[in-house]
């Protein structure tokens, strides 16, 4: 099997005060290196829950998660954190940059806690790659939305992940800027052989994806 990540028969139930909500129902899903998968669906369909399970931020109630062929369903918090750092890059709708750090420092941030002497060079190189070579020392509030998302993408790539998980990556961007971000995703998955999984409402994302998965009421259609 050469799936970089795979969900097998995954259920996720939340107990919300007596009432059990089923966010994911028997979900089977996989992504291969270099593949761009769009996960679409109305809000409340369980897209974010699925992304959290894929990103090792949440554990399924039932079912199994495989990361690079390894069962990672029941890892400790510490091990999950290590795997997130090594395998997964996150991109959020509202960028979630640290406002007190410069663009360069934001990109370095995932490597800060740990001895990583080449991190600064890699971060500089990544920012140049996303077209922000002139803005290394700018703080997030001095950057436009598209620039912030580019910093976030550089941050997601700093540890050379195998998977990029994007939650509504174009949600806070205008159409043109969104398109340039998606072009960047396309380039990354092709050049770096990274699986890109994006959860979105944005129909233009479908044009870029190799495959679109529709999630309604916690079930893949």
């Amino acid at each position: 099997m050469n799936h970089i990540i795979e969900l097998q028969r995954v259920w996720k139930r939340y107990d919300t005060g007596g009432e059990v909500v089923e966010a994911l129902k028997d979900v089977d899903f996989h992504a291969d290196p270099g593949e761009f998968v769009a996960v679409m669906g109305p809000s409340g369909s369980g897209k974010s829950t699925m992304l959290n399970v894929l990103g090792l931020l949440d554990t399924p109630t039932e079912g199994t998660v495989y990361l690079d062929g390894q069962d990672v369903t029941d890892l400790s918090d510490r091990e999950m954190t290590v795997h997130r750092k090594r395998f997964i890059g996150f991109i959020f709708q509202s960028f979630h940059l640290i406002p007190t750090l410069s663009a360069l420092e934001n990109v370095e941030m995932p490597t800060l806690f740990g001895d990583d002497p080449t991190a600064r060079d890699r971060a500089t190189h990544l920012l140049e790659r996303v077209g922000l070579g002139e803005r290394l020392d700018h703080r997030p509030d001095q950057l436009s939305g598209g620039q912030k998302q580019r910093v976030a993408i550089a941050r997601a790539l700093i540890n050379e992940p195998r998977i990029l998980l994007a939650d509504e990556p174009t949600g806070n961007l205008d159409r043109k800027t969104g398109r340039s971000v998606l072009d960047l995703f396309d380039e990354i998955r092709r050049e770096d052989d990274v699986a890109v999984i994006a959860v979105t409402h944005d129909p233009q994302l479908g044009d870029y994806a190799d495959r679109t998965v529709e999630l309604i009421d916690g079930r893949i259609q």
């Binding site: 954190t81 750092k85 995932p110 997601a156």
Partner: protein, 381 residues
Amino acid sequence: MSVLDDLFRRVPALLMARRNLSRNRIRSGLAVLGIIIGVLAIASLGMFGTTLRTGASQQLGDIGNEISVSPNFQEGIEELTERDVDEIRRAVTDGAVVPVRSESRLVSRGDRQTVTTVYGMENPGALYEAEQGRIPDRLRQGALVGSGTAGLLDVEPGNTISVDGRTYRVAAVLAEQGGISLVSPNNAVIVPVEDVNGTGYSQVVVSADSGQAANESAVAIREALNEREQRVSVFELQSITAGINEFFGILNAFLIGIGSISLVVAGVSILNVMLMSTIERRQEIGVLRAVGVQRGDVIRMILAEAGLLGVAGGVIGAILAVGAGVALNAFVLNDPLATFQAANLLYIVLAVGFGVGTSVLSGLYPAWKAANERPVEALRK
């Protein structure tokens, strides 16, 4: 690369902490102010105690070095004999033994006269210093006049005075003794011991070189003279100074206790500040956790923030405390340098340590809370 950059590179928690604190300068500043006040309170109250103690022991002088041996009136012993004095001399290995006779006499010079205490001493030089003139090694003739009496009778060395009709040439006027003294010379006249009536002595003063030597002499004298009967009572001024020292110790502990309360209050304010700032930064901390920062690193980061507040407050508080100590000592003791002594250094170290400790302790709960929040919850919009 500057030293600071190098430090931040080695300890990334410090870099993050430093940046986070600069985010809301007023809030951080107020939290630091709390610690400053607490550290200042502990350190300066501690130093205030030291100043009081120093001032008091200056007033007391060297009395801890002196002991007084007097006849035990309860056993019917009225005076000390030559034999007693010899035994005391044998018992005291380290210090001067000054047998004293005393009575009240009329002293006059010209038409001025006063009734004053007249001490008979053979070797008053062991106890007193001259302000004018010179004290002979053995007082065989002439008189020494205390500063008070000298002022009253307007005498200076070389004048003659009359004690009960007997004429003495004044050899020296004694320096005023400020502290408490066993045999105060200020309002007295000292004459050769043979000139005072009687055969025995009313007391024997032993002036040792140190408090410890005085204490050893006291023990030896008790052993030598009180073995068969309680012939003498030995009075050590050291017991007074020990009591005074103990009192100031308690006073200091009390003052520092009051100072500590303000530091505890400062700790609560840091707890509040850290809790608020971690709640505000919930999403950010969630992102940190998502991109692979371990719980322990989040805890370290927030403890570093609290620690930085403590260190900043501690250092500024210590500097202010030294300033306050210098001002206090300049005012009370006329000696600003008295601030720089071991006891005060200890108080400052204690206060800064307590300040940093309180801050870090106050950071523990917010740090634990932030680190244990699930990133999924924190990232939820």
